[in-house]
């Protein structure tokens, strides 16, 4: 992942180094040139000084003159005779007798020489200085001014790192606030001292939250209100249908179809109401310890008629397993799963329910020996109003396609995981739900 902080640090320090390097190099070059010029001037001065000091002297003694290791001089007469020299100087002329600067090798070092013809005494003065010493002296001078700049870069890098950190703090705060937000928390974000650049961003995020909240509320209210409003006329319809049938005593097929349609409508409305009653924000506060095994056996007992009608064999295996959850929601979950299994399992079919604790929580498994669902449909069947139709069977099953959407809803609410696969029977669907032991907050 790309870090803005690291990116800014790298690019800023790299820019700093490059710009500083180029300017330092230019500075270094001209400083070195100036220093060399100064050294050359000093050599010239030394030569002239020696010339004036030796005007009277004509001896050819090579007296032991104390000079430093990196300087020498020679004095030659007009005929090319060495008159005198410092003890570090060679006996021979290292360069031509022509006024100017020369670089020569001597005694294992490189020397920078100045050859100076003294017009008064008609002598040649040669003064030499060791090149490496000159260079290192010049470099010392220049480095003394340049080196602080390099430490400066290191210090600047540390400062830049720190300052970028403070500069990015509002962004960090924002992302921390967003990360710690609950899924259903749509309250606006509040940040103190918001910088100008982020003002717009936070404003837009808050607007989005507000609109999302509004549309959630609207959708919920609308569906719940509509379902609720529909219940009364449907109940009335059911009663009047019942009364009409009694009055006319007619038991023809038309009545039955009508009755079935009204029942389906009633079921649909109930399911829609259930879906919204199990929405997280509706029951978030009412979690409690629930024995899933006991709950499952209760649900089976209550809906036993459903299985008995189709002579289905239902089996509950497992032991007492406690999870932390919402009673009403879990009851609905079991009801939906079992009614689905019963619906798809054939007459005299089998349904097996397992409930047992695992390392991380509790596992609930529901298996049937119905036709099953092909794996490529697993994703879709949780969609609202989606119903899987097996092309090979023309049996039309009652239902509205909301059952598994409600299951999905409840599973998310409990932070559980659902997995679909083929059942251990010859055919059929296996639903595995893993509940965590404790409901995460």
């Amino acid at each position: 992942m790309k870090s803005i902080r690291l990116y800014l640090l790298m690019i800023l320090v790299a820019t700093l180094i490059l710009v500083m390097f180029v300017s330092l190099l230019k500075g270094y070059q001209s400083s070195i040139e100036t220093a060399q010029g100064l050294f050359d001037e000093r050599l010239v001065n030394t030569a002239e000084l020696i010339a004036s000091a030796h005007v009277a002297q004509t001896t050819s003694d090579s007296a032991q003159r104390p000079t430093s290791d990196y300087l020498f001089f020679q004095i030659w007469d007009a005929n090319g005779q060495l008159l005198t020299r410092s003890d570090t100087a060679p006996h021979i002329a290292l360069s031509r007798f022509e006024k100017g600067f020369y670089d020569v090798n001597f005694n294992g070092f490189r020397w920078h020489n100045y050859v100076y013809p003294d017009p008064l005494s008609e002598r040649w003065i040669i003064v030499g200085e060791r090149s490496d010493v000159r260079s290192s002296m010049a470099e010392d001078i220049v480095l003394a001014t340049i080196l602080p700049a390099f430490f400066g870069i290191v210090i600047a890098a540390i400062f830049i790192w720190w300052l970028i950190g403070t500069g990015l703090k509002p962004l960090k705060n924002l992302s921390r606030q967003l990360a710690s937000k609950q899924a259903d928390d749509l309250r606006p974000i509040e940040l103190a001292d918001l910088p100008k650049e982020m003002n717009q961003l936070v404003k837009i995020i808050n607007q989005l939250f507000w609109r999302l909240d509004q549309s959630f509320q609207r959708e919920q209210r609308f569906a719940a209100d509509a379902a609720h409003e529909l219940r009364t006329p449907i109940s009335a319809l059911q009663i009047h249908l019942h009364n009409l049938r009694k009055t006319y005593g007619d038991n023809s097929e038309d009545w039955q179809v009508m009755q079935a349609a009204v029942n389906r409508m009633s079921h649909l409305v109930n399911q829609i109401l259930m879906l919204y009653r199990t929405a997280p924000e509706q029951i978030a506060k009412k979690a409690e310890s629930i024995d899933l095994y006991k709950l499952a056996s209760d649900v089976i007992a209550r809906d036993y008629q459903q299985f008995e009608k189709r002579q289905q064999h239902i089996e509950l295996i497992g032991k007492s397993s406690t999870i932390y959850g919402h009673f009403f929601a879990l009851e609905t979950l079991l009801q939906n799963l079992l009614s689905n299994a019963s619906k798809y399992a054939p007459t005299k079919g089998h349904i097996v329910i397992h409930v047992h604790p695992t390392e991380k929580g509790v596992r609930l498994t529901v298996e049937d020996d119905g036709p099953g669902i092909p794996p490529d449909q697993y994703e879709r069947i949780f969609d609202r109003f989606y119903r899987y139709q097996n092309e090979n069977s023309d049996l039309q099953l009652p239902g509205c396609g909301l059952g598994l959407a409600i299951v999905q809803h409840i599973i998310e609410m409990h932070h559980a995981e659902i997995k679909l696969s083929n059942s251990t029977f010859a055919s059929g669907l296996k639903v595995v739900i893993d509940f965590p032991a404790a409901l995460r907050k």
Binding site: D103, V104, N105, G108, F109, R110, S131, D132, S135, S136
Partner: protein, 111 residues
Amino acid sequence: MKNVFIFTSMLLISLNSYAAPPTFEILIKDHLFYPDELIIPANTKVKLLVKNQDATPEEFESYELNREKVIPGNTQAIIFIGPLSPGVYPFFGEFFPKTAQGKIIAEEEGK
């Protein structure tokens, strides 16, 4: 295209190494070149035998001659230069440029 490349390369590869070029010796000692001024004939290919007598490696380098060659300590290296038109061609040791300096002077023969 590749054929053209090979053809050009073949054109450029010379077969003129029959005539042994004159050899000149340059010593490296104490990070200095001896001699530091080498006079060679102009317009002639010359073989330089650079002997590094220091324990440290040195890189013979010259922008004017377009040459660069690393010479490890206590070894010798061959560098071909020229044919050069008359003139002064400075060279230096890149590892010790403050002291290892020299120049090749190409002079026309008979001068």
